[in-house]
């Protein structure tokens, strides 16, 4: 098992390197980071030249990549186009985003499993058909539409009704609210509620649909029939046989989807004006800021690789048929 994990991590690092080269070339060749500076006719040519030297724009591509790579090894991920260390920024913005992502993931898992299991147990009833339609609707709505609908048709009417901001729709916190965590908590809640809900609704549905179908598959299996034929209680059949087996594939799918959740979070942040990874990344893209884009890529790609590995390890733990490392 351990040797399997180590081998997978090696492959993962390789994939990270190759993808960073690809994205580096993509960003470096796709635009001019000094475009904004050049647009201003008052900028002296010397300034532009100095900035270009500072950003190593005259060096060959491989050398620029190496400079960037050495900064990654040092942990600061280089400077952005405004000469601010990217590593520190990445950390600050990640904290904001992760707050939303982690809470949303937990809530979405609970919601998805409950909805999926209940729908399967009530197979072919009105409950099943109704949840199925609702699931498909949330599967279909793009996350920005969910965010906009909650913002305009939930938050705005509520706030107007009470004549004060109960559900905040802009920013991740009110910078004027200070104090310790408990004093700031109501403000956090007010800002986080709708974005978190948006992400939960955009995420849970595919898991719920999958959970429903795995429970149906397992309920239909021979071993569940044999378990029922043993005369154990229906409750025990459900818990020890149906759920125990039906949760295995869903667990791995959730682990695999975690990285995709980040994409949803980026869009949710845009809708609600959060200053998280999404803002960080989109600003980087718009400013042709190579180091910022690459830092974002490294973070998300690492998450993809790590969670792929976690999914495999979970599968190995949950299903005794899977044994890694042998042959």
């Amino acid at each position: 098992m351990l040797s399997y994990i180590i081998r997978r991590l090696f492959i993962g690092v390789g994939v990270l390197l190759v993808s960073s080269v690809l994205v580096f070339v993509l960003v470096a060749e796709s635009g001019d980071p000094l475009a904004l500076l050049r647009q201003n006719p008052l900028t002296p040519a010397a300034t532009i030249h100095a900035r270009a030297v500072q950003l190593h724009l005259f060096d060959p591509l491989w050398k620029r990549y190496w400079i960037w790579f050495s900064h990654v090894l040092r942990g600061d991920f280089g400077m952005n186009n405004n000469n601010i260390a990217v590593g520190r920024q990445l950390q600050i913005h990640s904290m904001v985003t992760m707050r939303m992502v982690i809470l949303s993931t937990v809530l979405a898992i609970v919601l998805a499993i409950s909805v999926g299991v209940i729908a399967a147990l009530r197979h072919d009833t009105a409950v099943d058909r109704a949840t199925s339609v609702v699931n498909f609707i949330f599967l279909s709505v793009p996350v920005f539409v969910i965010g906009l609908v909650l913002k305009t048709f939930v938050a705005v009417p509520i706030d107007q009704h009470f004549h004060r901001v109960i559900l905040a729709t802009a920013g991740e916190q009110n910078p004027l609210v200070t104090g310790n965590f408990f004093q700031r908590f109501p403000d956090y809640l007010s800002h986080s509620l709708l974005p978190t809900m948006t992400l939960v609704l955009a995420t849970y549905s595919s898991w719920a649909i999958y959970q429903r179908s795995t429970v149906l598959d397992v309920m239909d299996s021979d071993y569940v029939r044999l378990a029922r034929a043993k005369g154990i209680s229906p409750r025990r059949v459900l818990r020890r046989h149906i759920l125990r087996n039906a949760l295995i594939p869903v667990t791995t799918v959730i682990a695999l989807d975690f990285a995709g959740l980040l994409g949803g979070a980026v869009i949710t942040e845009t809708v609600y004006g959060w200053n998280g990874l999404g803002r960080f990344f989109l600003d980087g893209v718009n400013g042709q800021d190579t180091n910022v884009v690459l830092a974002y890529l490294l973070l998300t790609a690492t998450i993809v690789i790590v969670f792929n590995l976690i999914a495999d390890i979970l599968y190995g733990i949950l299903d005794p048929r899977i044994r890694y490392g042998k042959s």
Binding site: L22, V133, S140, P142, F281
Partner: protein
């Protein structure tokens, strides 16, 4: 005393015609199951209606979606059933044009995904070994680069192109095939061991002939289902990019772009936001319903009868 039972032809399943008949019968069953699935038919009818109405309308009034008028910001009325926007353009014309635009992108994306995904998956699964390893590491690479990153990076360049939907579709399509590739590979790994493939090989059929004539037809069910799902996914992606300002650019129209333009007025001029959003939702839901109906029709184990 014994009498031959030869007066009426009995179902013979051994001759070659019988096999043809069998497979044709299978597809008839699939169609029948699909038709009996209320959700799937709702999706199909809704999709067909949207396609028909927007196609006919846009053909009859090709420039209506950009025609200015003095009816600024008017709510739904007999003249403009979905109202008008701030510069007097009819929302209905814009929405219908947007539906067509979204579908144009999505169908191209799905076609690319099917072709690339099937080829990569087929070669990986058929040849296995080194070929499989190399192709699957490539799939890993495509998967590891978050789709949104590349889309946003490249879309930024593409955004500057005139009439950019084509480039946008090519970019989304060249990144959306990984799922179909994995699926086809898995199908092929198991098909490879089946008797009819062995038989074709023993008869000296070329690899390409075995892949194209014997194996792909047997994997076509899951491919169709996932092509449908890819269409839905592509609409979501395209509209999201357009919402972020990185997809379809004005003066072209897409539903995501319309939602972006209408969002700030959503509480006052609701029609600028609600109708495009509703059409976007209907479009995606109907495609998902069709896809799910196809999946259920092709894989009817769920409601089988035990005997």
């Amino acid at each position: 005393m014994t009498k031959q039972a030869s007066e009426e032809p009995l179902a013979s399943q051994h001759d070659v015609d019988g096999m043809e008949f069998e497979s044709r019968g299978q597809w008839a069953m699939v169609v029948r199951r699909f038709v009996h699935n209320g959700q799937a038919m709702t999706g199909l009818v809704a999709f067909a209606l949207m396609l028909l109405v927007s196609g006919v309308y846009t053909a009859l009034h090709p420039n209506q979606y950009s025609a200015l008028s003095t009816a600024f910001n008017q709510g739904p009325s007999a003249a403009h059933i979905f109202g008008t926007n701030g510069i007097g353009i009819d929302m209905l014309a814009q929405i219908l044009k947007g539906v067509l635009q979204d579908l144009q992108v999505a169908v191209l994306v799905a076609a690319m995904s099917v072709v690339i995904g099937t080829l990569v998956g087929a070669f990986a699964g058929y040849y296995g070994g080194k070929v499989d390893n190399v192709l699957m590491r490539f799939v890993d690479l495509v998967l590891v680069i978050p789709v949104l990153v590349v889309l946003i990076m490249l879309a930024h360049i593409v955004a500057q192109q005139a009439n950019n939907w084509f480039y946008l579709a090519i970019i989304i399509g060249s990144l959306s095939w990984t799922y179909i590739a994995r699926l086809v590979r898995a199908e092929f790994l198991s098909l490879r061991e089946r008797d009819f493939v062995e038989a074709a090989r023993a008869l000296g059929a070329s690899d390409w002939r075995i892949i194209s004539r014997h194996m792909i037809p047997n994997a076509v069910g899951p491919i169709i289902v996932n092509a449908t799902i890819t269409v839905a996914g592509a609409i979501v992606l395209e509209s999201t990019l357009s919402y972020l300002g990185l997809g379809i650019q004005p003066p072209a129209v897409s539903l995501g772009l319309l939602i972006e333009q209408g969002q700030s007025a959503a509480t006052t001029e609701y029609w600028l936001f609600v109708y495009p959003a509703a059409f976007l939702l209907m479009l995606i839901v109907s495609v998902f319903f069709i896809g799910d109906g196809l999946r259920a029709a092709l894989d009817p184990r769920k409601n089988r009868v035990r005997s």
